[in-house]
Symmetry: C2
Subunit: 235 residues, 2 copies
């Protein structure tokens, strides 16, 4: 059965890139890029990622196996508009996806066909529609939320994400674009519960995979009034 | 050799408690408490934690072993003032620490001696002094930063933390008191690098231990101008 999954590289403090660059800035010189390159370096170094991009070299590691598995599992993608726009030129005539990509956008545009099995379909009627269309075209494989972070949050908030894999890089960025947190539409005493289903210790990176259970109330446990609160949090 | 370590339970989105309660609020009824109880529930359920608090029951699990190890490793603690104030009454005559605790505060106060080997020494000349005094009194065991979150950040920012263990609960709180992130004193293209040294899959919780390397510049990798950026981040 087709699952909807997302895989994101984040810092240990939860950021997938550094502080957001101004639209007028040179992105490659920005703190946003510096953070992004740091947390995704494990992928850049991996043979499976480099081969898919057409780059030479790369390491055949546990990290590389993880990437190969992720590519192989994808039947279709959903993608945010900014990521699609930013990638259109650098991805070139044979983008690395090799599957239909459904781009969530407000701007209608004809389907863009590329080599190697990649196509970009521009979906203007919302995230849920893009996910539904991707499911129809996934051929029984997974729909992967390619990113960026805001799209992952939207798919989560809509209750449409089945699995989330975080590739946790051992670095604290201090500030930056945060993948999870605000923007999930949760009430003050609600959480989105997940179940850890796989932990892999990669080379300098930790791969944590979760099944998403859904929104649940946060309930006080038995350290409440009967026994007294024993440890207290501090801001 | 005495190491300075910290152990904190956090949600998958990096919060150790829910949204901060107003000082006038009933803390136990607050979203802050609801989030805190959710992310620390694994400890509450564990036999080693319950025994140390004098509570009945508890599960003898991998999680419990982790707690027993942490208690056994502690020779002295440093603690934030809010946590110490909040715990003073509920911890009672025999607090769970059984070691000297050095409380970082602005308010001078005589040493408070409690049963079972716990004492509270109030340190008014800063975090580094509290850490140094705790090291002197740790008897060769570890100094543990008991919390709260702001003290952990301060010890990290001062370059005084040797190891950090995060107990990651599989829940997204959406908003709350964030352990890591802003407040680390990092420049825009700097990060604090760590090295993953241990991963344990506990019962419904993932224990991630890191050695702290220190502040390093974030450097662009070879996806820069030569090959073109292949994946872009989105805010």
């Amino acid at each position: 059965m087709t699952k909807v999954t997302a895989q994101m590289s984040i810092s240990l403090d939860g950021c997938y890139a550094g502080t957001r660059a101004a639209d007028t800035a040179d992105w490659l010189e920005s703190a946003e890029a510096a953070g992004f390159f740091r947390v995704t370096r494990w992928a850049t170094d991996a043979a499976a990622w480099r081969e898919r991009q057409g780059f030479a070299g790369g390491e055949r590691t546990t990290n590389s196996d993880n990437i190969a598995e992720t590519f192989a599992a994808a039947g279709a993608y959903v993608m945010g508009r900014r990521m699609a726009d930013g990638g259109e030129v650098p991805w070139g005539e044979v983008p690395p996806f090799r599957a239909p990509v459904f781009v969530v956008t407000h701007r209608p545009r004809p389907v863009l066909h590329r080599g190697g099995g990649t196509s970009f379909t521009y979906v203007t009627d919302g995230v849920a529609s893009a996910v539904a269309q991707a499911k129809e075209h996934a051929g029984g494989k997974d729909v992967q939320v390619a990113g960026g972070g805001s799209l992952v949050r939207q798919v989560l908030a809509l209750g449409l994400l089945d699995e989330l894999e975080l590739h946790v890089a051992p670095v604290l960025l201090g500030d930056g674009l945060r993948l999870l947190g605000p923007g999930l539409g949760l009430g003050a005493k609600e959480g989105i519960e997940l179940i850890p289903i796989r932990v892999i210790e990669g080379e300098g990176i930790t791969h944590l995979r979760y099944r998403v259970e859904g929104v649940r109330p946060l309930v006080l446990d038995n350290r409440g009034r009967d026994e007294g609160p024993v440890l207290l949090a501090e801001g």
